[in-house]
């Protein structure tokens, strides 16, 4: 520590800092130790059971590439689940975000209402939404698409509202003072100001929805997830490995495309 800093450090401050650093380290270690106990971590089992994993991997080789054509439809279903969920999510999240953004909301009760709706749709996982919608509309891709849409409303609504709250309010005030109406100000100043960010977030959401749609297949929402579950139940490990490769290609491809489009819009 330099002399200048030493001169401005109150006596005892250095000791207090060390004490609090030790306390923080102890708290962190205690936190990690309880996590270790609660998850019943047994690393030795991983070593002794490695041959089981190796056995499954060997039975999964070579991947069943002849399953390419029969699985084209489930792949399309998976992509369409993500498209449906994202499009409806964006369309419903945007008006909700306008109401939930403190700087442009028309009324305080609407602000709280929108925030509550966003909170509920976000807090309930998409898997739970899917189970709920399955009871309403039966098995198939539709309940999965609805689940993704509803969960996306919450996720996107919050992010959209934050973007709107962070926007430059200068143009909004300027247009308001020209005598433009509230909706005109929204479409001519707010929307052009935040659109690139919203598109970027929407594309990112599509990417996440694609991954979620795979999981939703496990609860009967169709797509690759459902094929994967079926193949595992039937011990068709070569089909499983092929479907995992297809999933990897799909997710990576969607990631790349969404990253490219985000760069284009931002």
């Amino acid at each position: 520590m330099s002399k200048v800093i030493q001169m401005h450090t109150p006596p005892g401050a250095s000791g207090a800092r060390t004490f609090w650093s030790v306390c923080a380290a102890v708290v962190f270690l205690a936190l990690f130790a309880q996590a270790w106990i609660v998850v019943q971590a047994r690393p030795e089992d991983l070593v002794t059971g490695a041959h089981g994993m190796a056995d499954i991997i060997s039975r999964a080789m070579p991947p069943a590439f002849d399953q390419f054509v029969p699985n084209l439809w489930p792949v399309l279903e998976t992509i369409d689940l993500a498209i449906f969920g994202t499009v409806f999510g964006v369309l419903l999240a945007f008006p909700l975000a306008i109401l939930a953004a403190a700087n442009v909301t028309p009324a305080l009760p609407l602000y709280y209402g929108a925030r509550a709706l966003i909170g509920v749709t976000r807090a309930v996982p998409d898997l739970v939404w899917a189970l709920l919608f399955v009871t309403a509309v039966g098995l198939g891709p539709f309940p999965g698409a609805l689940a993704l849409a509803v969960h996306s409303i919450g996720m996107l609504g919050r992010l959209f509202a934050e973007v709107i709250e962070d926007m430059d309010m200068g143009p909004v005030e300027a247009l308001t003072l020209t005598g433009a109406g509230r909706v005109q100000v929204l479409t001519h100043a707010v929307v052009p100001g935040v659109l690139p960010s919203l598109l970027g977030i929407g594309l990112f959401r599509f990417d996440e929805n694609l991954r979620s749609s795979l999981v939703l297949g496990f609860v009967g929402a169709g797509g690759i997830g459902f094929q994967l579950l079926t193949a595992m139940n039937l011990f068709q490990y070569q089909t499983v490995s092929f479907l995992l490769i297809a999933t990897f290609v799909l997710v990576t491809g969607a990631e790349r495309i969404s990253a490219y489009l985000r760069k284009l819009f931002m």
Binding site: A174, L177, G179, G181, T187, A189, G193
Partner: protein, 287 residues
Amino acid sequence: MSTPFSVQGDIPLSPAAAFAAAGSDMPGASRPAVRASSGVKLAVHDLTMCYENGHTALSNLNLSVSAGEMVVVLGSNGSGKSTFMKCVVGLNRPTGGSVKVAGRDLATLSGEALRRARLPLALISQHANLVKRRSVLANVCCGALGRHRTLATALGRLPRKEIEPALGYLEEVGLLHLARQRAGTLSGGQAQRVAVARALAQRPDVLLADEPVASLDPEAADEVMRLLRRLATEDGLAVVCVLHQPELAARYADRLVGLRSGLLEFDQPASEVSSEQVASLYIAEAS
């Protein structure tokens, strides 16, 4: 307070000295006669603004501005200039007095009635506040939205009828060649001139400018002030401009209004205001 500089050189001058220097080449005498009618467009009577914390920002301020007249309001920070502008434009509701534009008292109105009454009043701020991702032309057309409240404009379309006039306003501010360019690519001076064009698209009777040159270099500042002067002289607008540069005020204004601690210190033709009067606005506030 920002230190004013002489336009010719880089030697810093006191407000009073800069004012005196500017006054020597004041174009007041050679200014062309006002073409438009000389009726009063803005009449402020006994304007008083007292904030909730008890601070009185304005006390019984009286001011009237006629068509074709350019009035510059001078005063140090905290003198009440910004409060005055906010009260006139209806952003602040004054605790007393009236602000009459086109015969309607803005101080008593709110909501939709205020929005309508405010249409003949345009404001240019220190920052141009353009929508950066839209074209210059779209930004100018937006100034006319208040007169075109249709479903199409509510959905984000520009009022078709306003495109031709908007091009005219851009020509008037010397930026027609940039009409299709994105507003975000403009320099500070250009953006401010687009803001003036947007204000013109509103077709106002009164043009308020709140420190319109505060963030501009001297050349761009001069250009904007010349433009405001021309709009008053040739288009007959009543221009009220808040400035921190007494030398610019002396050069371009018809009348100077001095504010100190919310009180009107002077309201005189620019040629009659002495550098001591201007200096007193700043010195007295500092002491």
